[in-house]
Amino acid sequence: MNLETSLCGIKLANPVILASGILGVSRSLLSEVIRNGAGAVTIKSISLEAREGHKNPTVIAFDAGLMNAVGYSNPGTAGAKKEFTGLKGLGAPVFASIIGQDASEFEKVAEALGGLEFSAIEIPLSCPHTPGFGTLAGQDTPEKTHEIVRAVIKKTKLPVFVKLSPITRNIGDVARAAEKAGASAITAVNTMGPGMIINIDAKKPVLGFRMGGVSGPALKPVAIRCVYDIYESVKIPIIGIGGIMTGRDAIEMMMAGAKAIGVGSAVHYRGMDVFKKICSEMSEWMYENGYESFDGIIGAAHG
């Protein structure tokens, strides 16, 4: 089965993309992920200055998914410029992910990473557990979304993906605001919640930041619904993320309206070769059901 697809003019060998914040700290790890079958990879989000993030524990796994409050640790634009060189040599497109506390910070980061060989820039306006960023900074309103997208677009010629939060009400409106402002695609969704897990023997929340974003199986139905809503609201392509574990999950996300899908937590449950596994499971299902491309699949659950 040929799983080739394209996203905003970017060619992908398959639609399974590494989500931001999982493994994406180094060029070599991105290369490993590509070797394990990802059609494209996203780096861990980069801010203007280096950030240490929250204290440990920062990532835990509970019954129904993962929870994290990494807190956007990253080496800043300076570190990123050293790390992410020669990306064209990796064999698959690499997407930048950039964050800022306001539109002007977003601008600066976009500009700083301009010289690198990224294929697109993703802007998450949706982290639920880092003060100053994402939903805690109100970046998920239609107004702020519009403002930030405009600012980034001024500074880059690359396609801009806007990453939304599942906790945003009327997510379709925000997607529309992003589209109007010139975004090339919507990435949906970031982690949910935030949630909290308390260790009752210690009488303390486990995460260093006390609360964190929920991903994995717990998030999947909410992510599917978000993508379904967004698909009814915009014409630009959607990268569907949230709890995708299997080829069937990926097809489900596409039927909700996603053109490509992102995978994060599944790396924990199924190993780094989950990308290959998902692709072969997709192929198998498509073969068995007589599909030769994603044409009859994307958005099929609508109407």
Binding site: S28, S73, G79
Partner: protein, 265 residues
């Protein structure tokens, strides 16, 4: 189908016994049996403070970690008494392979995971180094160790690598296991390469998740928490960072000496 229910949450376990190994190092036995391969580690959580990785220095029925007091976290651990509880998750990572005709080269606190290994090996040659006499750990836990100290206050004065060279000149080993300061391990590895001997080294990087998703601990595309912490020669050859670079908490890659400085602040 793969298991979708791998929870990774700390469980509070009692410290059952504390052994004072030397003025700087203590072994904390815990009231939970952890069946682990020598070389595997656990994440230790001190609520409200932080969570850090520690190798198991004893596993199975009596399970323990052996800790050197270095900073805020280990100081807090050193204030704890038997009966107090710490959070544990794991074991994580891979272990050493178990081979005959082995040589074990331990530097400082690096003897912790190796001690657990030594007890499962048949008559390994043990080379254990420390800065000085009062820093030797597990005195008497295994017989016949060649001790070196930097200052000569115990055993041979000098470095473990000197003893290793001397041993390799006269004896044959199928493998050399090593853990200790990374600069030391790098030298051990280079010696092994020169002699065409397989080497397994246990690396240390700053860790967050401990189970292979965040990428924080990566070294040239390998995750120290998941693909390691024990790496065979084939990997050590590929890891250009080995002995040279490591990442700060922010993910910034710096010279290993700067990493050490940051860790010591």
């Amino acid at each position: 189908m793969d298991n979708y229910k791998k929870t990774e949450l700390p469980e509070m376990v009692k410290i059952t016994k504390i052994v004072y190994e030397n003025p700087y190092v203590r072994t904390f036995f815990i009231g939970r049996k952890i069946d682990a391969q020598p070389g595997q580690f656990v994440m230790v959580w001190l609520p409200d403070l932080d969570e850090k990785p520690f190798s198991l220095s004893y596993a199975g029925n009596k399970t323990a970690i052996t800790v050197e007091e270095k900073g805020k976290f280990t100081s807090a651990l050193f204030k704890m008494k038997a009966g107090d509880k710490i959070g544990i998750r794991g074991p994580y990572g891979n272990g050493f392979t178990l081979k005959a005709d082995a040589c074990v080269v331990a530097g400082g606190c690096g003897v912790a995971p190796l001690a657990n290994l030594i007890e499962r090996l048949k008559n390994p040659l043990i080379i254990q180094g420390a800065r000085s006499r009062d820093r030797i750990i597990f005195k008497g836990r295994f017989k016949g160790a060649s001790i070196t100290t930097d200052d000569g206050t115990a055993g041979t004065k000098g470095f473990v690598t000197d003893v290793l060279e001397a041993q390799l000149a006269k004896n044959k080993f199928s493998i050399v296991y090593t853990c200790g300061p990374e600069a030391m391990m790098k030298r051990v590895f280079e010696i092994c390469e020169r002699h065409g001997i397989e080497c397994e080294a246990s690396l240390e990087r700053f860790m967050k998740c401990g189970f292979g998703v965040c990428g924080q601990c990566e070294a040239d595309g390998l995750r120290v928490c998941k693909d390691g912490p024990v790496f065979p020669s084939a990997h050590l050859r590929k890891i250009k960072d080995f002995g040279s670079f490591a990442r700060l908490k922010s993910g910034e890659k710096v010279a290993i000496s700067d990493y050490a400085k940051w860790r010591c602040q």
